[in-house]
């Protein structure tokens, strides 16, 4: 058998393999590059960038839960300007696709961010975060409202010809309605899922374990939910999906591809094993070899129901 083809095409976005690093779980790439070869993976989704820098929420920001964790980072980030000046130079040197994730509290801010960042050649695509559960403005007010998601997609579409991926909230009964509106308004793909709203309390102080009271649940605990959301979209809307949620190893990645994900993102797992993305790429190859799969893209949505 000749070399296995791991490339994936999502609209006009070409990835050398389906393994991406999820927004907010790799910063801007520098630190994790000490542990893993970023040139080997399909791409990096940068930490959500907002127009102005954000300090983020006060501590305590995270807590471990059964097979998961809650975070309420609150979109701490350096802001568009510093991002361009200080972070892009490192990212530019990589032989991996750079997807820039954008968060905002107003429609105008989304538009402005995309307009500015559209000039950066090293940015190949945008992921629009409409689903952060940890900020007061925007976040789930947008993400759980199909009209807002449509409007945001439509507006950023006008600003760029680069691929637009909209990152959906799982905190809704029918995620496929959101995927549909993204498609209708010219989005190229959706990513699913962002975190689920959760909380944890200390039974002696009776205080929330994270200062923000609620946080976003990620990790293996949410994998079954994420898989069901991806499958729901795949079965009802014809739009490429990037699968996210609790992926810890190559088996989880394959499971997401089978239910319909064209590519996958690794989030929480990076914290535990910062080299996991490279191991997943190897695992995908081995799996394809053992299953006689020539093009990994043939796995996408290949479920047997």
């Amino acid at each position: 058998m000749s070399e296995i083809d791991l490339t994936i095409t999502i609209g006009s976005l070409k990835l050398k393999n389906p393994v991406l690093l999820a927004s907010g779980t790799v910063g801007y790439g520098n630190e994790i590059s000490e542990f893993t070869d970023l040139n080997k993976i399909g791409g990096i989704v940068t930490k959500s960038i907002s127009l102005k820098p954000r300090k983020g929420n006060p501590p305590q920001r995270i807590v471990e839960t059964p097979s998961g964790m809650l975070n309420a980072i609150g979109l701490a980030n350096v802001g568009v300007e510093t991002f361009i000046k200080e972070k892009i130079p490192f990212l530019e040197k990589l032989n991996a696709t750079i997807i820039c994730n954008i968060a905002a509290s107003t429609l105008e801010e989304y538009i402005e961010c995309v307009r500015i960042l559209n000039n950066e050649n090293s940015i190949t695509a945008f992921e629009i975060n409409v689903s952060c559960p940890n900020v007061k403005d925007g976040g789930l007010i947008f993400g759980n409202d199909v009209l807002w998601v449509g409007k945001i997609t439509e507006s950023v579409r006008k600003e760029t010809s680069k691929p637009i991926i909209v990152k959906l909230s799982p905190n809704v009964p029918k995620i496929s309605e959101f995927a549909l509106v993204v498609k209708k308004e010219g989005g190229d793909a959706v990513s699913a899922i962002n975190t689920l709203v959760g909380t944890a309390f200390d039974i002696y102080t009776r205080k929330p374990k994270i200062k923000n009271v609620t946080g976003g649940l990620s990790g293996p605990a949410i994998k079954p939910i994420a898989l069901a959301k991806v499958l729901e979209i795949k079965r009802t809307v014809d739009i490429p999906i990037i699968g996210i949620g609790g992926i810890m190893n190559w088996k989880d990645a394959i499971e997401f591809m089978i239910v319909g994900a064209s590519a996958i993102q690794v989030g929480t797992a990076n914290f535990i094993n910062p080299n996991v993305s490279n191991e997943i790429v190897d695992g995908l190859k081995e799996y394809c070899k053992s299953q006689n799969i020539q093009n990994i893209s043939s796995l996408v949505g290949s479920y047997v129901i």
Partner: protein, 250 residues
């Protein structure tokens, strides 16, 4: 920063609830400095999910020691390791203590298991004089190997002064020239806070080793902020865990 699979060379309960773990770590051991820490995967499976951070307690040849308290599920699992087990460790993480500053006497102030980083710090400062103040619940919680000139305090008075370590420090520091010392503190937050106030009020050089719940331990999750006096956040894992007492708001 390295991910290393380390073999457990020994593990023993050195005191009520306190364990000493020795692992063979040819790579991390050559780089680790006092005040830095490692993030340890305490199990071979996904439970518990996150690594657990521990100070580098001591380094000897190619071995690293960790001194830890059994606290919850994670430390419980770690305490059950056996000789020959493989433990997955990321380190060395963060910045260590700054011992190159201009001071004559290092004043080490430890609260409880906060003593963990001090043996390596003691070993690192060959050309300084060292005084150690060590406070704990009672004598059953004291493990003082590889420390120098130790003064004790315990809540119950079972050894040393009956009282807290800050009281102990205040009593004993009177005789020293405050310009020529540097305090190194590690322990529970209330103790660090008291120490910070004391050091800053008396204008004594002081570094504090902080703790925070951590997801990654090396700067990618932003889970471990500490507020600075200039109204910003720094990351305890990456910018710390050691901070100048003048720099942070506890």
């Amino acid at each position: 920063m390295i991910i290393e699979k380390c073999i457990v060379q020994s593990i023993e309960k050195v005191k009520s609830n306190i364990f000493l773990l020795k692992v063979l770590s040819p790579n991390i051991s050559t780089k680790g400095k006092a005040g830095q820490f490692c993030n340890i995967k305490v199990s071979e499976n996904d439970f518990p999910l996150l690594r657990r951070p521990f100070s580098i307690h001591y380094i000897e040849n190619e071995s690293i020691y960790f001194l830890f308290d059994v606290h919850g599920e994670g430390t419980n699992l770690l305490s059950q390791k056996k000789i020959g087990d493989i433990v997955d460790i990321i380190g060395p993480l963060g910045n260590g203590f700054n011992i190159n500053e201009d001071f004559e006497t290092a004043v080490l102030v430890a609260g409880g298991i906060g003593v963990a980083p001090f043996p390596l710090l003691t070993k690192s400062m060959v050309n300084k004089s060292i005084i150690t103040f060590y406070g704990a619940r009672n004598s059953e919680y004291i493990y003082d190997k590889n420390l120098l000139n130790i003064n004790y305090s315990t809540d119950d008075g079972s050894i040393g002064l009956k009282g807290n370590v800050i009281d102990l420090l205040k009593i004993n520091l009177k005789n020293l020239d405050k310009q020529k010392i540097k305090i190194f503190g590690c322990g529970p937050s209330p103790m660090l806070k008291a120490l910070q106030i004391f050091a800053n009020e008396n204008n004594i050089k002081c570094e504090l080793a902080l703790e925070s719940v951590m997801a990654c331990g090396f700067g990618i999750c932003q889970g471990c902020p500490i507020e600075t006096v200039d109204n910003n956040y720094k990351l305890i894992c990456k910018d710390g865990p050691v901070f100048d007492a003048k720099e942070i708001i506890l």
